[in-house]
Symmetry: C2
Subunit: 198 residues, 2 copies
């Protein structure tokens, strides 16, 4: 396949995912049809179905796209030695995810709470989120381990346990942002910094 | 009205709210009918409609019941001087709410994420949750203010800002408990204690 065509097709896939994110965030997973997404993405039906055979596949790809993005930010952070303060790491993940989910004036952060509700009745979505959340918590545990080595967090506590309240800063941010109004990742992280040891 | 009858009617109201919580948690707000709740509560239609004229009213009463319970725990904590560690306060709120939401072998914690999704499309529910969440954050800010007076948290930070990441420990607990498996408030709070200054 010539390189330009491959790039073109990849770009179309990303456009479909972003359109799907907008439709799902606005109308919910159940009220969104494939045709809604095809219209919003401005692609042909044949291009769409080359990538996604059904709605479940599209929902999974949309959610995976966001969550993988969060894991990648933490992987980058773990490359740095000494590790940044925990609140800085949280800020970078939130800022990157928020930039991605508020692109072009469309706010798709409502996807987060919709996907939690969906996970309660759809085992495949549940499994996907559980897997990605475990990955995020594993990365946070590794970051905590490094802060323990520096003496900033007590050595005797289990880093995987400490990763849980730290992880809470992500869903907590989104819930407060959606229900109580705009929330700035930088101010939120500064406040977390005042609260956290490391 | 004779006292015994008044007590009886109040108890029926609480039974209806608990039955509603079970139905909503299991089937969601939209898939639950008034008859489902009347059946689950084992009350007569006339007793039910004495309390709740419609589903919106029932949803609001069910959600208010849980959230008011959280505020009351924090009000009790604020009576104590010197203030308990922040992680202890979080544990007491979570433990009390979890006890209330897992009574008689029924786990209704899924209500939390369902109500977030519902708030995105129902302005009345949105307003109710925003109001209760503001109350919770106000109480946390007051607790933080007291820890600032003790020197445990930097005096120059705004306690209302610091209340935000602290508040995140509540939705973060519920999201992880629902999606990643059982979570014990005591272990979670111990881990938070290792993470927090105060």
């Amino acid at each position: 396949m010539p390189r330009v065509t491959e790039q073109y097709i990849q770009r179309r896939r990303q456009e479909i995912l972003e359109a799907a994110g907008r439709c799902f965030a606005r109308d919910g997973f159940h009220a969104t049809s494939m045709d809604d997404v095809i219209d919003a993405a401005g692609v042909s039906t044949s291009v769409f179905y080359r990538w996604f055979r059904g709605k479940d596949e599209l929902v999974i790809a949309t959610v995976t796209d966001v969550l993988r993005g969060m894991v990648v930010v933490l992987d980058d952070i773990l490359e740095v030695d000494p590790p940044p303060p925990l609140a800085d790491a949280v800020e970078r993940v939130l800022a990157a995810t928020l930039t991605r989910m508020t692109r072009d004036g469309h706010d798709t952060t409502a996807l987060a709470v919709q996907v939690w509700t969906e996970a309660l009745r759809n085992p495949e979505i549940h499994q996907l989120i559980a897997h990605c959340y475990e990955q995020l918590r594993d990365r946070l545990a590794e970051l905590i381990r490094r802060h323990q080595a520096l003496g900033a967090i007590p050595a005797e506590v289990d880093p995987r346990m400490v990763a849980r309240p730290l992880f809470s800063l992500f869903p907590g941010f989104v819930v407060q942002r959606l229900l109580l109004g705009p929330e700035d990742p930088k101010l939120y992280a500064q406040a977390a910094q005042a609260l956290l040891r490391a």
